[in-house]
Symmetry: C2
Subunit: 577 residues, 2 copies
Amino acid sequence: MSTEGIEAKMDDVKLSDEANQAAQPVGDAEANGKPAKEKKEKKEKKEKKEQKPKAPQPKKKTGDTELIGITCKKSEDLSEWYQQVIVKGEMLEFYDVPGCYIYQPGSYRIWEFIQEFFNERIRAMEVENCYFPLFITEANLQREKDHIEGFAAEVAWVTEGGRNKLDKRLAVRPTSETAMYSHYSKKIRSHRDLPLKLNQWNNVVRWEFKHPMPFIRSREFLWQEGHTAHLTEAEAGKEVLEILDHYAAIYEDLLAVPVVKGRKTVNEQFPGAHYTTTIEGFVPAVGRGIQAATSHCLGQHFAKMFDIRVEDPDQEVKEGEKRNKLYVWQNSWGFTTRSIGVMILIHGDDKGLVIPPRVANKQVVIVPVGINAKTTGADREKLYDEVDALRRTLVAVGVRVACDTREGYSPGYKFNDWEMKGVPLRLEFGPKDSANGVVTTSRRDQEGQKSTIPIADLATAVPALLEAIQADMFKRASDEYAAHRKIVREWKDFVPELNAKNVVVVPHCTGGECEDEIKKDSSGSVEGQEVDVRAPSMGAKSLCIPAEQPEGIEGLKCLNPKCGKDAAMWVMFGRSY
Amino acid sequence: MSTEGIEAKMDDVKLSDEANQAAQPVGDAEANGKPAKEKKEKKEKKEKKEQKPKAPQPKKKTGDTELIGITCKKSEDLSEWYQQVIVKGEMLEFYDVPGCYIYQPGSYRIWEFIQEFFNERIRAMEVENCYFPLFITEANLQREKDHIEGFAAEVAWVTEGGRNKLDKRLAVRPTSETAMYSHYSKKIRSHRDLPLKLNQWNNVVRWEFKHPMPFIRSREFLWQEGHTAHLTEAEAGKEVLEILDHYAAIYEDLLAVPVVKGRKTVNEQFPGAHYTTTIEGFVPAVGRGIQAATSHCLGQHFAKMFDIRVEDPDQEVKEGEKRNKLYVWQNSWGFTTRSIGVMILIHGDDKGLVIPPRVANKQVVIVPVGINAKTTGADREKLYDEVDALRRTLVAVGVRVACDTREGYSPGYKFNDWEMKGVPLRLEFGPKDSANGVVTTSRRDQEGQKSTIPIADLATAVPALLEAIQADMFKRASDEYAAHRKIVREWKDFVPELNAKNVVVVPHCTGGECEDEIKKDSSGSVEGQEVDVRAPSMGAKSLCIPAEQPEGIEGLKCLNPKCGKDAAMWVMFGRSY
């Protein structure tokens, strides 16, 4: 199947004039090389778009109903599958500004669970939430050279206010380092003001010309950005890793998505950072890595540009002698709504979304079964009363439950509808179940395996089952990632392993030019390899230097045969989003 | 004292070219008429700005310390007082984009409490949170005529992305009706899809040329905006009032701020609304009303423009006959960070902020007392251990506590510092208290009244005391509002009552032109009235038609002697923010 081109298909809205300018390389092979094909795809997509999306709808008011579910397989066309799943699963809707999307309640609720989880952890670290303005003056934005170079190509500018031209254009924040650090320089007047730990949950805009992909790469996205200042490098470094642990916990404990912790190579670090730590995910369907979240130590670069310094409290000074001024050590760290897309790509299946229980808005749906047009009103009412009693039992123990008592829809229709939306556990309940004192269970993550729970055990068995689903989803994804993370020691195996949908961990010199060379040499068609003509393979880039290093780097040469240097670290490479 | 000009002084940053264009009237008397004075003030403010703000700081490392507190009285210069209180109390910081402000943790935490409170209530109404894009296409923004007319003068436009001009400029949302309703038209395909109830928490931008005032009127602000669609007007109307009740509860139950519920006159309603309900607050220090929050029934205007309709489910149809299409009834309702400013203006005093306990980030501060340089290390350690035990007792019952064990600061310095930040309750604890088994209490809202609580009772007495403080703060503000809400039956009393810092409830025809006339005739100096030359009085506008109407409107004429019509309702008028 296609290992790329997915973003191209995602771009369902005409990119207007800007798209033409995307022919300029923007540091990514994906945007280039296939103008004719893309144009065609765009046209098809446009036509498709003009039809109203097929939301589940009964054909008639009563009797048979037909659900228009996911009409393609995840393994056959990931791009089309992803678009159908997010729209029909009611996670996201398309919008008439290219690269901007509507986060429907289905996805926004997941974001709220993430916010609650992370807020609790950072509050325990004495990080405080705050809010800085959306707009940044150009003068401020340009105060850190590497930083502005990293963002200049993708800043959206406000130039008009009401009916007037602005005197000076204003940047819509792509990130808030420069908005915040003038404030830090006022706020931090003494070592007693350290550490300063602020976080904000907000929206940022990066007017990228790469092809957008809902959740994964959009022009506006939601995130949190933490910005802290410390007296010492050691203290800053400790926090960078604590935050990375929390990020990994969001993915692994909430979203059931495995990640690999590590550090970015210099080539891949944040513009203006001292170093960048990262967690890297993996999308098995395409064998591509995906950056999951990053936590940066900014060092003293910004402190120097924004003059954030304090007197050295530990210096021994004589009477009348002045204390040295120390620049503070700063961190910034961000976690975005991309995480929701990663979760969908990893867990979704041919029936639609599969939401891990801990972040599911509805964890359980109860569907009454075994009644039909011939059922008497009294029998129906009795069953519905019993269903409501089940619901109340579960709500009382904190389970988030929906009851689907819609008339005119068959149980089968309802099953498919809730499966498409990814509800982790379905409880079926009919007159037979009632007579037996049980409910019938059907796990979203295990196709076709039904079981029963005695009604008396519901309050304990359902929460336990939800936790089991959560754990099983993580284990399955984790095993799959591990199976596709290959140690490669020789260049000849590098591209074949990528083509087999793996990421690879290789001995590497960690040099930037060497990385560029590897990227170049691993792209395009490779002799002797079968290549899908629809999807020429992109080059592999370094994803991270994993924190857990395999043994035996000593004495190895860099994998790149053109390099010749000694290997410094095991580095994870892969094709990636 | 000055009853206006407060916004002019708040504008601490040069408004660049745009300010010059503000000479165009923008529907408010405040912006006009005093160019020379404003310029001078602006210059003074600018000079002031260039100094670093005076954060509390000890002069020496140990021994005497001096707190630079609020240096002016609320009753003498509200403008200067407000600015000092919000900055020194660490609620807000100024920023280098005019009209945009930094929400420090002190104020943002209050916003989070409001979010939690309101989310719980709207979830019970089955409203779901979501997120729509920041940018709106011009074509979409213009689809409802009254709406765009209401906002055209204050939309910020993005015209450049990266290094390119955009083909079509994009509006930064001033509100999201037009962003959301294209989606509604897709989403609502049948009466079964109703009601649709979505809410979002986000930032909006209104590039106003009126003078900004932190929290109260800013170019970017945070809010929630709820947007719902219903089958019937009755159902929509019921929700409008439920939401208004929740808004009133946020003010009264959380912020301890009394409000008057009512409906806006046609002159003052939301652009594009069918009708607007409102809660109106009151700032006693200046005798001005302030719009607290609004909940609108949009009627079917937007539904017609965006083609949001469903088949009539209640229509009796014969075989083959088509059902009529009904346009849906829509509501929108919004609550903003302005509420935090209202709270500060009402409760703050000459020592600084006074935060109601339910929204205070720190509800209690424990300050160790009775120790000095001569205290032995062992005694100090014993006291600090006891202080920490007090803290743990309170934390265990859910009280939010700070312990101020900073060295080198006197208790007096600490008292003033926490008073400035508005912490509702101070507990003092020294060797004498320890010997007596008590803590000494000092309520922020009651100057100089100290009391004691037995340590054994701490876990119950402190939460009870915090609730008492909350209730007392609300009662005081409520009594004051009631005392300044005067029923006026004759025109001759209208302006004198306004000048006595009241709002007035008058018999009125509810006509728009008549309102304009009243506004004109109540502005400027009035014969026989003493006028503060620094503050020519602005005209009064209608604040609302109170839901609780005084008796006896029948047979009364409109208060405006030039009108001559019969009075239709009692209408509340006032000078206002």
